[in-house]
Symmetry: C2
Subunit: 222 residues, 2 copies
């Protein structure tokens, strides 16, 4: 887990009153506080001042470590994407050799991550809330994408030196859309109705998700 840990070195506990004028570990703790805020209040409930308040620092202090609020959230999204990619990679490995099993495992992992860390996940895909042109962000998200693409390559028999054909592209987007949409429907409360096979997060993950992923697209056989 890439949650930000404080090293018991020189910094203060968030609440404890700081003796020194300089904070010493502000950048790191701001990221941790920001994540905490979006977990509690949602991505839109985030406030730069609140994050500053939690680490006991003035509202203007963050500006020396991040360009602006978006800059801070970009770092949070970055950490999220690292974990996300790791979760997908682990799932892919669990899938073994069978391409369809790899895709299925990735799908499960995708949704599990999103529903276990909804704040992170929603931030990661909220283009307006972070700088999606950030070089490192592009790299990490690209990396996660490749995990999916590679499974699609295996499923369609496309070697890595050839571009994906139209069928492969369609399959990739279809699979991605399905799991991604499932997450958003869950966030919107659209899967909470027991009469529709839904319920709380447990039901959505344990019962409805397998029911849904039975319909995960298969590659078109030639």
């Amino acid at each position: 887990m890439n949650s930000v840990k404080i090293k018991p070195d020189r910094q203060q506990a968030a609440k404890s009153v700081r003796k020194t004028y300089h904070h010493g570990d502000l950048r790191r703790q701001l990221i941790a506080a920001a994540e905490q805020v979006i977990v509690e209040r949602g991505v839109d409930g985030f406030t730069l001042r609140e994050a500053a308040r939690r680490v006991g620092v003035s509202p203007a202090a963050p500006s020396h470590h991040f360009k602006d609020a978006k800059g801070l959230l970009t770092e949070v999204a970055l950490l999220g994407f690292r974990d996300f990619g790791a979760a997908l990679a682990a799932a892919d490995k669990r899938g073994g050799q069978d391409p369809m099993r790899r895709l299925y495992e990735q799908g499960i992992a995708y949704v599990q991550f999103a529903l276990r860390f909804p704040a992170r996940f929603q931030l990661m895909f909220r283009v307006d809330k972070h700088d999606h042109t950030n070089a490192e962000f592009v790299r990490v998200s690209q990396e996660a994408y490749c995990i999916l693409e590679n499974a699609i390559r295996a499923a369609t028999g496309t070697p890595s030196d050839r571009p994906l054909g139209p069928d492969g592209q369609g399959l990739l987007v279809a699979v991605w859309s399905m799991v991604h949409g499932y997450c958003h429907l869950a966030f919107g409360g659209e899967l909470n109705n027991p009469a529709r096979g839904g319920g709380n997060t447990d039901v959505i993950l344990e019962s409805l998700l397998p029911l849904t992923l039975k319909y995960l697209p298969l590659p078109i056989k030639k």
Copy 2:
């Protein structure tokens, strides 16, 4: 189209200076202005004061017609959902008797609406930005849902007096997830890469969408 029209009766053009103390058509024009704002600035760029400004009224005026900002946006979302339901119904009809064709046409219409009116669509599904417990809203969104459900019933041979079985529930959520996710991927710019078969909105709608919906789930045959 349920866009709000001004009746050339007693109200003012948004910009023109109003002579009378009372506005006369404030509620309607506020809704229209609000929609305009989210079209230009996105859902998160919406501001109650800006909407009031555009119809030439004080920041406190809207409170007499809507409980708060959320209340105004609820009305906008409501109009959106009416059009959305109408678009889905029309598509369903276009599908004729074949259940799979009905689902496919609905899918196309779903995504087309979302990408043609992204502001509306995103607002409609942003639970935090409007009052999703509003009775009329529940009614209208339920109505749209039923259009999908009925096609699923036809596809699975489930009469309307019986609840959908697990397979039907899974199929419904799978189809919904795929089209819904496709829209969100598009919003996030994930489908803009030509190397991945994407591009601008035209490409996404005309080229990539059919490629993707070729993988729209089929009902499981017993």
